[in-house]
Amino acid sequence: MTEQVVLRVASHPKYLSVVRAVAVLTAELYGLCRQDVEDIRSAIDEACSNVIRHAYKGDTQRQIVIGFRCLEDSFEVTIEDDAPKTSLSDLKQRNLDEVRVGGLGLHIIKKVFDSIAYDETKQGGNRLILVRTIRRSNES
């Protein structure tokens, strides 16, 4: 793997604060502007919450691996689990015009990241690849 920062935590919601802190610090190190850092914090948090809630169906004893990588002009985050295969078509976005509980996470993820894909080559489990084009903090 060529990720510059990789975090592995148990699939317990208590570790989401660790995930967010690493996301924030890493995005800052890569020079992203403050607003983008906050957006990325939200999106990664929602994606990991979804792994716990939907992929692992609340099982807190599994593992989530989050990788961060910065290329020339993009910030890439990978989120891996060893749950049964999910595909993009399983991610069901709902209409935000009806007021109801839930269904906001995917909207946040899709708003923040320019590209969302599952790595189809991964053997067992899922690897969600999130890519965001960078606006650097000194340009913002």
Binding site: P13, S17, R20, S49, L104
Partner: protein, 109 residues
């Protein structure tokens, strides 16, 4: 996250502080449902000291709002920090909740 409750003649001000996420929102939900069970007529949620909120936190407010409807209770949101306002705007919930600059405005409003 910690939650402070202050009761003012039937108006309860709920002030969570810290981060509201999938880990902490069940605690906030529990506190709100306890107030709703007592048919608290007005609940003001003051977000001044909240540094982060995720979709499960927002969902908790939506659920509270819906559960207060049968008895015509009022749920008001006050003192929303700029960074948190974003998720309200984005989810279009700034149109659904009564939002106030300050707790005082929320009490009067």
């Amino acid at each position: 996250m910690k939650v402070d409750l202050i009761d003012n003649n039937g108006v309860t001000v709920v002030s969570p502080s810290g981060e509201i996420d999938m880990y902490s929102s069940p605690e906030l939900r529990k506190q709100l449902l306890t107030l709703i069970k007592k048919k608290t007529s007005t609940i003001i949620i003051a977000l001044h000291d909240v540094t982060y909120i995720d979709s499960s936190g927002i969902a908790t407010f939506v659920e509270a709002l819906k559960r207060m409807m049968p008895y015509k209770g009022k749920l008001k949101i006050a003192e929303v920090p700029e960074s948190i306002m974003r998720i309200f705007n984005f989810s279009k919930l700034d149109k659904v909740f009564e939002m106030y600059e300050s707790v005082d405005d929320a009490i009067k409003g």
